[in-house]
């Protein structure tokens, strides 16, 4: 078993005495309770813990810092960038380094914005606990920013000739900005005797360490003794420092020669005690020529080994190649005496400098920001082709599988949040292998709080052609409306769910309601049924019956009569409803115009006589007989005249 697993303790004595079991709660929560497996053949008697007051279920959940409102912007904005990237890739098969670099910078600027808002919050927050929590997030996202930036330099923004130092210097300046900031302040103040400030010399040394030679010279010129010989000499030396530039046309060996000359020149000046009058100037020059004593003296200026690394390279190996970084990184770790004290961030940075990308991704998965970093970085590296090249060297490694594995976890986690589930979906959409199936498992589990959310879930399901899920959600909504007595909405949902049994059940409810109190509900809905009516016989009957009502109300008695006869002839009349239809014939039989032909009337008579012993029409039977007889005589006379 691995050692770095999380352990959580359940505060229950009963759990301790008996044992524990659990239940899963969607998506990845747990319910934990004291449990003891009893042999089912054992005697039925209370357990040894009876009676207990500790029969509790403990609700345990993975701590997801990403669900904190303060990080919502990070989630949403990175989601936007992620989707843009996938969209770009879908549009074209090849992608340029330029574009990938652009995306990487977008992600970094999202992290930066997140850090800034965390910093603002920390300034505003009043409680110590809040401050600690925010500080913890800042530490996490600072590390992420630092690693991402380095990975961008090493894996995405590779420069010709594997020249890496200028980027590294930029990286270290970005993450240790205090020297540049101090220098800017001092130069702006335009004060006399800047050297009286305690940070004057540390700033100059710091600038020199970050390769900011020109700014360092600028500060030296503000020294009140800037016109003395030693100062002028230093300025002259620094001005002459050869710069390695891959575009200058100078080969590495030519540059090397120039550099050697320059160093020798300074060394001879040191030997000649040209700077001896001024301790700090001499130290500066000794650093430039890699004097060991001088370097060990300034070690205290460095917070970490990776701050030392670019500085050391700048003076010792200015033409360092990217693939040599690992060796020098280890050298700097030894110099700082940190071999056995590496923290997590150190390990990741070292792995990156050793170009061990798999180790980087493995390590960043352990960071406690719930996979945000690993998911987005791996996706970007995969599309830059950096992960795929590893397939050659590592057995059974699939770059695609790795990045999808991360996306699945991240998407699944978001699916568990009440308002981020749609963001989760958009990630799962980009896992070709299993994404849609996971959506199939998780989407119907999104709790439906209201109709609006139900509509949203249905839209998402239909978008992915998961029609059975859409239907399922409609059905559940329909059932909910039935329970609340909202039959109209229930019918609408039932029709959408295409569940004919539920539709019939509801049509029955409408008809029974009418039978009981003579009112048809939700007439708008019934009027607009259209072809959906065909989903159940009972609904057809309901729809047609409503049509009859409408015609009758509009005084279109002929049409109403025809429809009524059709309904009586049809086999779809519910048992509990036929007598109502029969009663509806009375006013039509008695109307001034002849509406029913003799044949129609015979049919009504037959129908009536078949059911003459039914309780429900017993007292209406006389009226009906009279009406049918009168209408029959009128119809027969009229029909004989026509012939």
């Amino acid at each position: 078993m691995e050692t770095d697993i999380n352990t959580i303790l359940i505060p229950s004595k009963l759990c301790n005495r008996a044992g524990v079991s659990l239940a899963w709660k969607p998506c990845n929560d747990l319910g934990i309770f004291a449990y003891e497996r009893k042999h089912s053949g054992a005697q039925d008697k209370p357990s040894q813990y009876y009676p207990t007051s500790e029969a509790s279920v403990f609700h345990v959940r993975q701590d997801v810092i990403l669900f904190r409102p303060i990080l919502r912007k990070l989630i949403n904005e990175s989601n936007g960038t992620f989707l843009n990237l996938q969209e770009l890739l879908a549009r074209k098969s090849t992608n340029t380094q330029e574009e990938m670099l652009n995306f990487s910078r977008q992600y970094r600027s999202i992290i930066r914005a997140c850090l800034e808002s965390l910093q603002e919050d920390i300034a505003r927050s009043k409680s110590e606990a809040d401050k600690d929590e925010l500080q913890n997030y800042i530490t996490i996202f600072y590390s992420i920013e630092c690693i991402w930036h380095l990975c961008e330099i090493l894996f995405i923004d590779s420069t010709p000739g594997n020249v890496v130092l200028p980027h590294l210097l930029e990286w270290v300046r970005f993450h240790f900005p205090k020297y540049e900031r101090n220098a800017a302040e001092m130069l702006c103040e335009n004060q006399e005797e800047l050297e009286m400030k305690p940070e004057y010399w540390p700033t100059i040394i710091g600038l020199m360490m970050q390769g900011r030679v020109r700014i360092a010279r600028g500060l030296l010129k503000q020294h009140s003794a800037a016109d003395t010989r030693a100062f002028l000499l230093v300025d002259q030396c620094l001005k002459a420092m050869p710069q390695f530039d891959v575009y200058s046309g100078l080969s590495a060996s030519e540059f090397h020669l120039q550099w050697q000359h320059w160093v020798m020149d300074i060394q001879s000046k040191i030997d000649a005690k040209s700077f001896a009058s001024h301790k700090n100037l001499e130290l500066l020059m000794k650093i430039v020529v890699k004097d060991e004593l001088a370097w060990s003296e300034i070690k205290k200026h460095f917070e970490t080994w990776y701050e030392l690394l670019p500085a050391w390279l700048f003076y010792a190996e200015p033409s360092v190649k990217s693939y040599e970084l690992g060796t020098f990184a280890k050298y700097c770790i030894r110099q700082m005496g940190l071999e056995n004290k590496l923290k997590h961030l150190d390990t990741v940075l070292l792995a990156a400098m050793e170009y061990d990308l798999l180790e980087v991704i493995k390590e960043i998965q352990k960071m406690s920001e719930n996979g945000w970093f690993a998911t987005h970085l791996a996706n970007l590296l995969y599309h830059s082709g950096q992960l795929t090249v590893l397939e050659k060297d590592v057995d059974n490694f699939s770059a695609k599988a790795l990045q999808e594995f991360l996306i699945v976890d991240y998407g699944t986690m978001l699916m568990g949040h009440k308002s981020l589930w749609q963001v989760g979906l958009s990630y799962l959409d980009h896992c070709s292998e299993s994404g849609i199936h996971i959506i199939e498992l998780l989407l119907p589990r999104v709790p439906v709080d209201n109709e609006y959310k139900a509509q949203k879930i249905i839209r998402e399901a239909v978008k992915r052609e998961l029609h059975h899920i859409a239907q399922f959600v409609c059905k559940v909504q329909g059932m909910k409306c039935v329970k609340r007595g909202r039959l109209g909405s229930a019918l609408t949902w039932a029709l959408k769910s295409q569940d004919s049994t539920l539709v019939s059940l509801l049509a029955n409810r409408f008809l029974k309601d009418y039978a009981a109190n003579g009112k048809l509900r939700n007439t708008d809905l019934l009027f607009n049924l259209g072809p959906t009516m065909l989903s159940s016989d009972r609904l057809i009957f309901l729809g047609k019956y409503y049509e009859f009502h409408k015609l009758y109300q509009d005084r279109q008695f002929q049409e109403a009569g025809k429809l009524l006869i059709k309904l009586l002839e049809s086999k779809i009349i519910p048992k509990y409803f036929w007598y109502i239809l029969l009663l509806e014939t009375i006013p039509l039989l008695e109307s001034e115009d002849i509406i029913f032909s003799s044949n129609d009337t015979y049919m009504i008579i037959n129908f009536m006589e078949e059911n003459q012993f039914d309780e429900r029409i017993k007292d209406k039977l006389d009226v009906l007989r009279l009406a049918t007889a009168r209408n029959l005589s009128r119809a027969v006379l009229y029909e004989s005249e026509l012939n």
């Binding site: 229950s12 813990y49 701590d63």
Partner: protein, 307 residues
């Protein structure tokens, strides 16, 4: 990191034997040696919704029905009965009672909704029953697998509804096959399949050396691959995998320090939770390389609840 959110006092007077959360994670059902089944609203303040009385012995397991069929809950008990409860207007009532076992009913589970309203239960009398609701005449049909496990069946679990992969065999019918896995006192894990109205044994998996306590068929995330976890008195958890549900490969997940009682899969089948007599719950996840790794554990003790 994992943290404890809250505790729900169930008010049961004796040990809880099972706790299950409904489809959406809004309600919790628990059952206990005190013969009762309780239902809680865990979304709004953990209030007790109902206390279901109907069993006359310890209630071993509860199972929620799919919301598509309304609000249904099944429970099985030492009293040889399975009760299906139905909620109407906030109150739970007996919907159907099945009393055709000769001994304690130890395990009950509803089938995936794709198979219709169907449930399976396993009993100490060694048999497994499969109950199916017939909509046309509002009745329940029962089929029984006699002598499924000698001395007794401890656990049953349905396979997820997976359509057979069409690419391999064009002639095969593209219908869902109902399948079950069961574990028993004969140290065996067995796979069952419905074949033209009859349930037949597909295979018998022999690796455990003591009673099989629990079996769990992993939800399928679209891979045409079956995975089952089983745990046993022999302190081992075994992961069984198969492409066709006929031939199975076994891997020992881990040999624990104590008897293992329960195994269960997370919703999308990516995490397996294992609990047992050592008062610990461990969570396992398969890495990309295919190894099973313990990612977290939850143990006994007395830490504070962080609200």
């Amino acid at each position: 990191m994992v943290s404890l959110l809250q505790s729900i006092d169930t008010g049961h007077e004796d040990m809880i034997h099972d706790a299950e959360v409904d489809y959406y994670g809004l309600r919790l059902a628990t059952c206990s040696s005190d013969n009762s089944v309780k239902v809680y609203d865990i979304k709004n303040g953990n209030t007790l919704l109902d206390d279901l009385k109907g069993h006359f012995g310890p209630v071993w397991q509860v199972a929620w029905g799919h919301p598509k069929f309304g609000n249904l809950l099944a429970s099985c008990s030492y009293d040889k009965k399975v009760i299906i409860w139905k909620e109407t207007n906030g109150k739970w009532g007996k919907y159907y009672e099945y009393a055709n076992h000769d001994s304690s009913v130890n395990s009950v589970q509803f089938a995936p909704a794709e198979f219709g309203l169907v449930l399976a239960c396993g009993s100490s009398d060694g048999s497994i029953s499969i109950l199916s609701y017939i909509r046309e005449n509002n009745t329940w049909d029962a089929k029984k697998i006699q002598n499924a496990h000698a001395i007794g069946c401890n656990a049953v679990c349905w396979s997820p509804a997976i359509y057979p992969e069409p690419a391999f065999d064009n002639n095969s019918e593209h219908t869902l096959k109902k399948m079950l896995v069961s574990g028993g006192c004969d140290n065996l894990v067995k796979i069952w399949k419905e074949e033209q109205d009859r349930w037949i044994e597909v295979c018998k998996l022999e690796v455990h050396s003591d009673w099989v306590r629990d079996v769990a068929w992993a939800p399928s995330a679209g891979l045409h691959r079956h995975i089952i976890a089983s745990c046993s008195q022999d302190r081992r958890v075994i992961i069984w995998s198969s492409d066709d549900a006929i031939t199975w490969n076994s891997t020992v997940l881990h040999t624990f320090d104590d008897v293992i009682w329960n195994v269960s899969w997370s919703l999308n089948g990516n995490i397996l939770a294992v609990s047992g007599g050592d008062n610990k719950i461990t969570l396992w996840k398969q890495s990309l390389e295919g190894n099973w790794q313990c990612i977290s554990d939850v143990g006994k003790g007395s830490s504070q609840i962080n609200n």
